[in-house]
Symmetry: C2
Subunit: 501 residues, 2 copies
Amino acid sequence: MATTDDSVPAAYEDLLDRYGRATYLGDANGILSWDQEVMMPEGGTPARSKQRGAVSAVAHDILVDDEVADLLDELDGADLSDERRAVVREIRREHERKVRVPTDLVEEISTATAEAHPVWADAREADEFDAFAPTLERLLDLKRRYAEHVDPDADHYATLFADYEPYLDLSTAERVLEELREGLVPLIEAIADSDTEPYAISGTFPESDQLELTHEALSTLGYDFERGRLDTAPHPFSMGTQFDARVTTRFDQSEPLDSLASTIHEFGHANYTLGLPQDAYGSPLGEHRGLTVHESQSRLFENHVGRSEAFWRLFVDRFNAQYDTDLTARQAYEAANRVYDDNCIRVEADELTYHLHIVLRFEIERELVVGDLAVEDVPTVWNDRMDAYLGVRPDGDDEGCLQDIHWSHGSFGYFPTYSLGSVLAAQLYAAAAAEIDDLDSKIEAGEFDALQAWLRENVHEHGRRYRTDELIERATGEPLTAEYFLEYAEEKFGELYDLDR
Amino acid sequence: MATTDDSVPAAYEDLLDRYGRATYLGDANGILSWDQEVMMPEGGTPARSKQRGAVSAVAHDILVDDEVADLLDELDGADLSDERRAVVREIRREHERKVRVPTDLVEEISTATAEAHPVWADAREADEFDAFAPTLERLLDLKRRYAEHVDPDADHYATLFADYEPYLDLSTAERVLEELREGLVPLIEAIADSDTEPYAISGTFPESDQLELTHEALSTLGYDFERGRLDTAPHPFSMGTQFDARVTTRFDQSEPLDSLASTIHEFGHANYTLGLPQDAYGSPLGEHRGLTVHESQSRLFENHVGRSEAFWRLFVDRFNAQYDTDLTARQAYEAANRVYDDNCIRVEADELTYHLHIVLRFEIERELVVGDLAVEDVPTVWNDRMDAYLGVRPDGDDEGCLQDIHWSHGSFGYFPTYSLGSVLAAQLYAAAAAEIDDLDSKIEAGEFDALQAWLRENVHEHGRRYRTDELIERATGEPLTAEYFLEYAEEKFGELYDLDR
């Protein structure tokens, strides 16, 4: 039970208790989902769907309750500290977004997305976009109706985007993605024209070795196995709370750097989660600030740490010991940073071309939601723009517009957060490097304390205390910009590919 | 959503929907608990407590809701099929027991048991009963108040017992335990006086081998790994639904038969769970019939199958192959059935002395609850009765009245179900053997289909359709009796120990 404090209105305590319960239920659902991906035998699916549905439904009921509305009204003019005002702001936002959408529509979306997943998987398997098109149409229609309920006056795509990133407006996303596109297209072209070929790794790298090495990488970065664990899953993810944040990975026997990069990426997510304040568990102050900030933490460790030359000076001996190889740190660094201009698959993309995959999806899903593009035209538009942005055409839709799971989840507006997160990672890393004495040498020495302290103090420990835009300005002194990412990319890849720029 | 049927009142559908949601939440909590025991890193405990507390609370709220009371009233005189009447009976029972207990008391019990566990663990570690005594007193007081709310006119111990076994009254438990005590004390004495010494296994049996062999035992018995899994846990248990019922085990390097017996025991539980009808998931017809019947299923496989000579004729080659030993089936059978008259620990007891451990606990906890025994006198009474029933005195309370976790959970009235389950196992096995042609030969041949079909038809597929007493009479033709167990024990152990009886 919350302690009573003269200065805290009873309504605030009551609101926080209710929100806490909903949060605990949401985290319980996280465990049910982790178990389903990692541990559950296949036969468990029908029961698990019902269990997850029930937990979601009761959590939803708690947040949309009329008494929550009354408590929020009561607190409207109350004299609260800034911190408590932030708590009320966050709970109000969640309550209002949920309460505006009729329960029937929530259930219809839930059913439709559950049904969509196998249809999408089969369509991708068969490389038949037509088999998925009616489902995509239905999901778009449902999500448009959803957005209409949340805010009839807003751009529906902006409303959907705000489900994933509540406090960066769509114009910011547009601006940043445009900056990325303009900066990256010529850089990628220059790389394609370069005669320099970074070192490549070849051979077979057994899964058991990869598991040991990813475990070792997590230990090297300071992952606390008393508050987490590493397992394998078909699609790597991270899940948990500030008490227990878990990481999953997967292995490709010919690509030993992929499981490392992916594990370090998930470490960044888990590390953020573990850095949220434990004493605020159950309050918005103990929750992550949204997908842009979350992704910034995974990309910062994946790219700015794990793909740095300093990291490979630290880690190459461990790599060589595991695989009985003889790489230099420079060779490993080069291999970890090769740019692939013939790749159609987002999740296999390098650090640069990745963003053009995102720009493409952002443009297409936005046009779909607002009605400027017909579902049937998606494959053609997709392939034409792949050609324009990346100079490559998918052989089939399975390698084109059917490759990602997101739309089958009804997730429109999610993709931009990947690029925004990368951009923010570069901006945060630059700010940290400006404040920490010789950060590169510290990484090479395996000393991550200063970086961790900076991230805790500037990002993790605030939970949802600040809006995303506030958090970014407080941490870096300026609004979100692609400038730092482009500067970093031009310097790093300019050197790797001997570009005269 | 439930389908509408002209013949089914809307109130029934509504009631079943609500009950279903509570059931799914309960099963979600089962997964949270399994994860905590098997997978969760230690640091996760504070968050997990809050998650489990929230899920329990919302499930409780659903069942005690006034609208559930209204629906039950509405269905009181309704024209329902026998099956639906059984569903209403079960939901009414749960609702009424829950609604009678004030929420404050429920929360107080929940807090007290959470606090009691470490106190008990420390007291056991230090062998200091006095350190646990005030906690035990508090738990007894709370559970007496609980029982008073549930039924002020009933024997409080009977009320607590009914939480675990709702449909066998306490006089049945008393009668059966008395039959057991009277039959077993002379049998155990005769065994102690016997000069015959069954074969004993000695050596070191690595955990990895034991894991493989327990896995093999589960496969041999027909465990469906598409609907379950085997893991290790500090205290073996089984958990799940008819879609996913999991088993855990643990290993002692010097006792390779212990992990086998324990795994086969948990298999029996999981096998029952997996035999519950899938189409009734979320309804009482899809739930187990209480702890007596559950325990009958685990004991039937542990003792009547896994400790039979027929099973060892089937399994001894696999055992020898795993450990590079040279046992005969007879030797393994003898080793699996040794009686230990110098053992103070319930969970290490053999099939016979086990029940005297239960009789002792039953007597003591009953006297404690009704106030005939003071908490401070428990150690003396415990040790005196151990001496009287088993001819052995514990060296300390850690091997005496502090050995079991149950009381620290506030579980008074649970212990008898262990013996009632064993007795029912023998009664069911005798009934199955009377109907199945040469069951022993089938077991020796690894053919479990006929036994499984009998159990499904007579026990599993009914869920809570019948009361426990009805189920027993329908399956075996008579009420619960210790007669079959005693007959089985006298025959089996008479032969093993060359007793002239």
